[in-house]
Symmetry: C2
Subunit: 436 residues, 2 copies
């Protein structure tokens, strides 16, 4: 079978795993997914590389040590590192080779499985997710956040500028983006402290210092750069997807009151830099391939450097839940889809580099808040409650305009296949009270 045939087979909807939990149609991690992450566990506290399958993590360093995973000479022991960067830097052919090898090791159909049939190795290499601690999957040299949902940009423009001219003229010509703060990107599960900062009421003469009163989420996805580009050498739009390793969910926590006072003229700063949460598993573009769909029609037609033939959006269902402290159940506050995004990831990367900016392996690029057309498909509380004017009703009583202390916010995302789903796992953060 050819390598491309092998790759195709890793996405076969009928392929099942000998680990039965992976075959549950609601499981985020079937054999078609095989997302990469960094984990440690109670027996071995050293962070190392793994993939998620069913309710387990497969320890890739253990598989390689057992001779079950072949890497090129320069890549040996790459899975023992505490980030995926060195693995990712080996290049797309290696990502694909590892995916093909893993799928074969885990497939029920595979005639011989050295992993399945070796109880000692299974104990070493297959760790229950419940026993694992998940870490940031990559060291992130740079973080950029885009603003590519037309619905979100229109909503925000209506609220803060002019409902009649909500969308600024540059928005339809380029994927507007800005530099984010890489140091404060944290992995799902990390508590997030409510920020303090400058707050100014419109009628006040001067700002006061205090805790943010309009703490918000932004429902986003992010993509991870798999192959960088040199300074001064832009990435062509048609070539851009080949440089993307995979995707995560991303919560771009935002302090709306701090943001409104600080953001003119140089953009958001303290209102965003206190924390950005990403999900721990990187779902590869190879796993997302079956869920490729057409992007929205773009009018005006983009300038040449932003053009690409074919389909470059992905059908990814997205949900946000909010659970107050000690509440028995969460409330789903938003349901939307990544396919609504106006600008594609390829266009974002082409635009990012068009002036010559270099990118590096591990760079994180956020999509921007993903809002759909319906009122319950908005990706932020700012939009869902229309800046606090329309409180949300919570299951079990209570309402929310913005986030309160102790609230736990969870993003979820998955691609629905035929009898399985390729999911991201949760992207969770609980809000701690501000320092006094």
């Amino acid at each position: 079978m050819s390598a491309s045939g092998d790759l195709q087979a890793t996405r076969d909807a009928s392929r099942k795993c000998w680990l039965e939990t992976a075959n549950d149609p609601q499981c985020d991690f079937p054999i078609q997914n095989l997302p990469f992450g960094i984990f440690s566990d109670t027996r071995n506290p050293t962070p190392r590389a793994g993939i998620a399958i069913g309710d387990c993590v497969v320890d890739l360093s253990a598989l390689e040590a057992a001779g079950l995973l072949t890497l090129p000479a320069g890549g040996r022991a790459v899975f023992t590192r505490d980030s995926l960067n060195d693995f990712i830097a080996l290049g797309r052919e290696v990502w694909r080779s590892v995916r093909i090898q893993l799928s074969a090791l885990l497939a029920r159909e595979t005639a011989s499985s050295a992993l399945r049939d070796d109880p000692a190795l299974r104990t070493r290499a297959l760790i229950p997710l419940a026993d694992a601690t998940l870490h940031l999957p990559v060291e992130i040299p740079g973080y950029t956040d885009f603003y590519s949902s037309k619905e979100h940009a229109t909503n925000v423009g209506s609220m803060f500028r002019d409902p009649k001219n909500a969308l600024l003229p540059n928005w339809s010509e380029m994927p507007i983006g800005y530099n984010g703060r890489a140091s404060s990107v944290v992995v799902s599960g990390t508590p997030v402290r409510r920020p303090n900062g400058q707050l100014k009421r419109p009628d006040a003469e001067r700002p006061v210092f205090g805790a943010c009163r309009k703490l918000d989420i932004e429902l986003e996805t992010g993509f991870i750069i798999g192959r960088g580009n040199a300074l001064g050498e832009p990435v062509a739009c048609e070539d851009a997807e080949s440089r993307i390793f995979g995707m995560v969910l991303l919560n771009d926590w935002s302090a709306r009151d701090i943001q409104q006072w600080e953001y003119v003229p140089l953009g958001p700063f303290n209102s965003k830099t206190f924390a950005t949460t990403i999900s721990p598993w990187i779902v590869t573009l190879d796993a997302l391939e079956p869920f490729r769909v057409a992007q929205p029609v773009q009018a005006p037609k983009p300038l040449d450097y932003l053009r690409h033939a074919g389909e470059h959006a992905f059908e990814i269902a997205l949900e946000v839940t909010l659970r107050p402290q000690n509440a028995p159940q969460p409330t789903t506050i938003s349901r939307t889809n990544f396919r609504h995004m106006y600008w594609t990831m390829a266009q974002q990367l082409a635009h990012h580099t068009v002036s010559g900016c270099n990118t590096r392996v591990g760079d994180l690029m956020g999509s921007g808040t993903i809002s759909g057309p319906a009122d319950d498909a908005f990706g932020s509380l700012l939009e869902l409650t229309w800046n606090g004017q329309k409180p949300l009703e919570l299951n079990g009583g209570g309402t929310r305009t913005f986030i309160e202390d102790g609230d736990e916010l969870t993003l979820s995302g998955w691609c629905q296949g035929d009898g399985y789903r390729v999911g991201f796992g949760p992207c969770v953060g609980e809000i701690l009270p501000a320092h006094r």
Copy 2:
């Protein structure tokens, strides 16, 4: 002698070096300076740590190997690395101890000098600057740029917004800053390619793609974080200076036409991310201490978290020259001083972290364009030529509104002492034509 007395002695204006070129009153690198950098040379192409003295580099790894430089146990061989980050992470007491040891090794007054009197070691450890290649001194995990010159913000606001309300209301309340792009920070001497991007004339319906026509400098300084802070744990303004390792010159190259079209509402992106140049030597705060002066009076009085007692500005003379390709001589186009900056470095760092944002060793924080009150003290061509309306006359003929291909721009900076100066060395970049 006490450690603080030893530190004071390293700044003694009367101290001379046995390397006579260091005693030239015009030399940037007298014995009072001792700035740190990373270099390689024709005999040894491995980048490693050095300090500049007179017309030479002292190879710190060679000094340590020869037993002339004592580091704590955890810091051994730290000078053999290709960035200063690990050295800086050893902490301020170690920076100071190394400074004191180096000053003693290099002082003419020192009774015995194991370096001066060992010809073989001198050949190994003392490399002419002319034979050295200078590299980025630190690996930069994060780059932030501020906007802290009142004159600059007023000039820009007058040109692009409203001359009557040039300064936005938030400007006087906080050191406005934004996240920059760390990947494209390059060391002095690296050629800079003119960026392409979207350009839109005010009367045009749509933008066109093309080479920037309003390429500009921004004369800035930058400071390097020497001790980071944890996520969620702000740095107090009074404590902020102790976390700064030192300063560099910084040229925040800017594409004004790209910037004007892209920057609303999220700030500059492609117009800045193509390159930022810094000078190769980090001048420590310990070397700058004698040049501390009072910052401008701040009115309104800043909020509590931005207050610090005492003097927190530094008297640093700054100059910009422009030399067209093949021109025999440069033209000085700006002369100003860092002491004009409204917000101090300590206030910038306190503000950066007030919402909980973490910083890391090696982070770079740009001052923002440094414009003084006089018309020839502006730190950008945008201001010097008032957006191209008042061309500058060049020595030897010709004029400039913005930068042309082949132009070489050089920033210089120094603190004038009594018979010596503590200088930064040049921060240079030549502009290459845009890709077609």
